[in-house]
């Protein structure tokens, strides 16, 4: 049995004596006695380090992780190159085992790192400012919607069909309590058009939220959206994959009021879906309205540059039920990972990674377009690193056959509305894919498709 209590038998006895108690059990005498010390049969008898590692390794081995299959799946979680310095640095105990920096004098390193994270992310998004992180991209988008609802006092949110359906679900969960209505802005030909947005605009609309790129991989042209929305007093929200902002026009350049994103592509492992990193950026006029921690630069009593948690009057520990959000714990360690990732790659490396993802995806798309039976959707629309295809058979079956050949293929879209459907699949290639891997999956697909069509 492992044990992280340092007391010797003698020390325990002396401490109990000091308290005038005869046993450890006496410490819980204020608890309802008949309910104390329940039997915990599942808990077992405890393990050593070695034993527990053996057990979890057994579970880990049964999974098709990226070390055993070649991943061509994205849809909100992406395999990217992560420099070894990232885990090495965020694993330092001073960061890993610290709490939210409530005592600034003893937390300057962490506070400065958060300040630098805010700097890097706001810059990447082309926005004035960033907070210190939220739980994940989806909850960040939902919180941005709540900001818009509060700011405008209006009840309707226009949600682009280009937004990740999982993100839309989370927004729905978050806004249902406050009696808000979600209206879907349909896409045509893989894009959200101004002609689809305009008829939906009214005095009831709090905000429109769009996606860079869309869940389906397309890259939208948001020209004129900002003007159309502010003309009606509505806010313009964008949800962006930060990896794509290495190349694509940023939310700030499109004129967004608030912009959110999933920070996982910035040096954070896929990890079965979490913990991830919610990014929230805003223009300065929303500085006092956004949720989450903010670190500001100031000076100490002797005039040294110093960093502190600031604008805390927005937060739950001060404002309670009137706070901007209930968020307390965030994802600081992962924001540190994202900052270190961006510092290690620098502007040049970050652009190279983005450009390689795009080029690999385009190479894969071209290869797929040449396979009989596979239809590429939205062939004339710009894409970043994901795209849709359609098979003459259920995509789930294709996925299963690819998995048995060592590939985690694109995501089968059974149960997805909009451009989704049982025979469709969302493919992704990032900068980590090699030419040989792309050739390999193409030849596996040729085999699968020829088996199917009997050629």
């Amino acid at each position: 049995m492992a044990d992280f209590t340092p007391h010797t038998v003698e020390e325990t006895r002396e401490m109990l004596e000091f308290l005038g108690l005869s046993s450890l059990q006496d410490l819980v005498r204020n608890y309802p006695v008949e309910q104390t010390f329940p039997l915990l049969p599942l808990a077992g008898s405890g393990m050593t380090e070695r034993e527990v590692l053996r057990e979890v390794e057994g579970w880990a081995r049964k999974n098709a992780g990226a070390s055993s299959v070649v991943v061509f799946r994205g849809a909100g979680s992406y395999e990217h190159f992560i420099p070894e310095a990232v885990p090495a640095l965020i694993g330092r105990g001073e960061f890993l085992t610290s709490y939210t920096p409530y005592q600034p004098e003893a937390s300057q390193g962490l506070l400065q790192a958060i300040f630098e994270f805010q700097t890097a992310v706001s810059s990447l998004f082309g926005m004035d400012l960033s907070n210190a992180s939220l739980y994940d991209g989806a909850t960040a988008a939902a919180e941005a919607c709540l900001v818009a609802l509060r700011h405008t006092g209006r009840p309707t949110l226009l949600v682009s069909e280009g937004l990740d359906p999982a993100v839309v679900s989370v927004i729905r969960t978050y806004v249902e309590g406050v009696g808000c209505r979600l209206v879907r802005v349909p896409m045509s030909g893989g894009l959200t058009r101004m002609s689809d947005l305009e008829p939906l605009l009214s005095e009831d609309v709090a905000a429109f939220i769009g996606s860079i790129p869309t869940f389906w991989g397309t890259v939208e042209d948001f020209s004129g959206f900002r003007e159309a929305l502010s003309g009606k007093g509505a806010l313009f929200l964008l949800h962006a994959n930060p990896h794509s902002l290495s190349l694509l026009r940023s939310p700030g350049e499109w004129g967004a009021d608030l912009a959110t994103g999933e920070g996982q592509p910035l040096g954070i492992p896929m990890m079965g879906g979490g913990p991830y990193l919610g990014l929230m950026t805003a223009s300065r006029s929303f500085m006092r309205k956004i949720p989450g921690r903010l670190v500001g630069q100031t000076v100490d009593r002797e005039g040294r540059v110093a960093y502190v948690l600031t604008l805390q009057a927005r937060e739950q520990h001060i404002r309670r039920e009137k706070a901007n959000s209930n968020v307390c714990t965030n994802e600081t360690l992962l924001s540190l990972a994202a900052l270190i990732y961006l510092s290690l790659l620098g502007p040049e490396g970050f652009r190279e990674a983005g450009a390689s993802s795009h080029a690999n995806a385009m190479k894969l798309r071209k290869g797929l377009s040449e396979i009989d039976g596979i239809r590429i959707l939205h062939p004339d629309v710009p894409h970043f690193h994901e795209f849709l295809v359609e098979y003459p058979m259920p995509a789930r079956e294709v996925s299963r056959m690819l998995l048995s050949r060592g590939y985690l293929g694109g995501l089968p879209l059974e149960g997805y509305s909009g451009p989704g459907g049982p025979n469709r699949m969302l493919w992704c290639a990032t900068e980590v894919r090699t030419g040989a891997e792309i050739d390999g999956v193409l030849s596996a697909l040729r085999e699968i498709m020829s088996g199917r069509t009997g050629k």
């Binding site: 608890y31 309802p32 915990l40 799946r73 610290s98 190349l247 896929m270 500001g296 039920e321």
Partner: protein, 504 residues
């Protein structure tokens, strides 16, 4: 050369100390053209082929340019300017800053976990689903609950989940007139904030002078509009509600549900179960009770346990077992999705390993030794400053520095002097109902020697309020900076390094 955060562990007088040097900003270290790690061996030349110019970024990325070594040094220097449990005693009340066993860092890093895509076909993630399912079963057992969701990303996220569950449940019973949530005045700020986010009206229940829920006040606030009563057990004063069973009875009689904020679950682990106490919903902070690291503010995780009648409403998606296979399912009755994927697996797997390592006896020792350490330290400090509550405390205790106000000393001054003495500070000014509060939680992981040393320094520092109050006003003097000007920070906030705008 820079001085690391080697702070003398004791004997700080509050007079001028040596301050470690601050680290320059990342952007001031940046050198145009410098390269760090290269992500690809053969960069793609020219403009991206499939993207028209009007969709491309024009604004500079604004990222710093450094070598890999320069980056590593920068962040290593920053780490020297911060304190964690690994470096200092961290008696931060209500935060359970216990030791985070190193073996647990290895678990999520294993291939098959860290590199697992969350939308992998079920047959490619059976081991992962089994691990999460196993954790749910263990949590059900220690919480005394019938079902668990692992989805919530933090305690406050768990609270919101619980509140949405209550809304959905009463909706399903045509009791949507229940629009109020009751929260004691000693509660964490997240409780009322979560209730408001869930669309409920918050009503505050005052505490009686001994810090327990005032039953008369409870009766006055309870009504057929009450949906949920949120109770922190043990309370934020480090007390077990002596009338808890009576509170439970009265809330039930009104048809409302009971939520336990499990932030203080370290006092119960293996010894007492929220389900047995009569709670319908509870969250547990893995980053407190189950030893997952706080990471400077996160990631944490806040699994929620519920009684069987609430299970249909738990968030989507969920892990279920049929035979020896594990599936990911969605339910139409669910409150919906509260995050993108299943849960914060990297945190949850650590918690699983912790629980497996401790076993039944180890889990019990957590609560018992947390109580032993808290009561020992409290008794050591008896008479130094007045505390709350009579008899035994639970895993933490609260002292009030109000009596020092006449010497012009406040709780914050004591906290800063403790930083000089080589500790992190206790939680100050919480709970709000105790004036000049200092909330101290030693956890089960500290040795008697550390508690003795801390008590000695604490007593010496309180003594300074009479002999040398100025020394306390000037503390801390050994940290990288003295007290920052928070008013200036909030007046015209600087939230990003202006140097970024000079970078490409």
């Amino acid at each position: 050369m820079k001085e690391a955060s080697v702070v003398s562990p004791s004997g700080a007088s509050g007079t001028a100390g040596t301050r470690p040097e601050m680290e320059p900003s990342l952007w001031s270290l940046s050198r145009s053209g410098a390269r760090g790690v290269r992500p690809v061996s053969t960069p793609v030349p020219g403009d991206p082929p499939g993207l028209p110019p009007h969709l491309l970024r024009e604004r500079p990325l604004g990222l710093p340019e450094l070598s890999e070594l320069e980056t590593v040094r920068h962040f290593t220097h920053l780490s020297h300017l911060s304190r964690g449990v690994d470096t200092h005693f961290y008696p931060l009340g209500s935060c359970t800053m216990k030791y985070n066993p190193k073996v647990m860092d290895r678990v999520p890093a294993l291939s098959g976990f860290s590199d697992l895509h969350p939308l992998t076909d079920e047959e490619g993630m059976q081991g992962f689903l089994e691990a999460l399912w196993t954790l749910s079963e263990l949590l059900k057992e220690v919480l005394g609950m019938d079902a668990v969701t692992l989805a919530p990303a933090a305690g406050a996220h768990g609270e919101l989940t619980g509140i949405l569950l209550a809304r959905k449940y009463f909706g399903s019973r045509n009791e949507s007139h229940r629009t109020e949530i009751l929260v004691p005045d000693s509660a964490h700020g997240t409780n009322p904030a979560s209730a408001a986010m869930g669309g409920f009206t918050v009503r505050t229940v005052p505490s009686n002078p001994s810090g327990h829920i005032d039953l008369e006040a409870l009766d006055k606030t309870l009504s057929d509009r009450t949906a949920l009563v949120m109770i922190t057990a043990p309370s934020t004063l480090g007390l077990f509600e002596e009338e808890l069973s009576e509170v439970v009875r009265r809330v039930r009689a009104k048809g409302a549900l009971l939520y336990m904020d499990g932030a203080n679950m370290n006092a119960f682990l293996g010894v007492l179960r929220p389900g047995d106490l009569g709670f319908d919903i509870v969250h547990i902070n893995t980053h407190k009770t189950l030893a997952t690291p706080h990471g400077g503010g996160g990631p944490g995780s806040g699994p929620v346990g519920v009684k069987a009648f609430l299970a249909p409403f738990l968030p989507n998606p969920r892990v279920v077992r049929s035979g020896d296979r594990f599936h990911v399912e969605e339910s139409l009755d669910s409150v919906g999705r509260i995050r993108s994927f299943l849960g914060s697996s990297g945190v949850l797997l650590r918690a699983l390993a912790y629980m497996r390592m401790l076993g039944e006896d180890g889990l019990r020792k957590v609560a018992l030794y947390a109580l032993l350490n808290a009561n020992y330290l409290r008794k050591k400090l008896e008479g130094v400053l007045p505390g709350t509550g009579e008899g035994l405390c639970t895993h933490e205790f609260v002292l009030s520095a109000r009596s020092l106000e006449k010497s012009g000393i406040h709780a914050i001054d004591l906290a800063k002097a403790l930083l000089d003495a080589g500790y992190y500070a206790p939680t100050v000014y919480f709970p709000l109902i105790v004036p000049e509060a200092l909330m101290i939680e030693p956890t089960e992981c500290e040795s008697r020697a550390m508690l003795d040393r801390f008590a000695e320094d604490f007593i010496r520092i309180v003594g300074l309020s009479r002999t040398d109050p100025d020394a306390l006003h000037h503390a801390p003097s050994r940290t990288p900076v003295s007290r920052p000007d928070e008013v200036r920070a909030a007046r015209d906030p600087i939230l990003a390094d202006p140097l970024r705008d000079l970078r490409r």
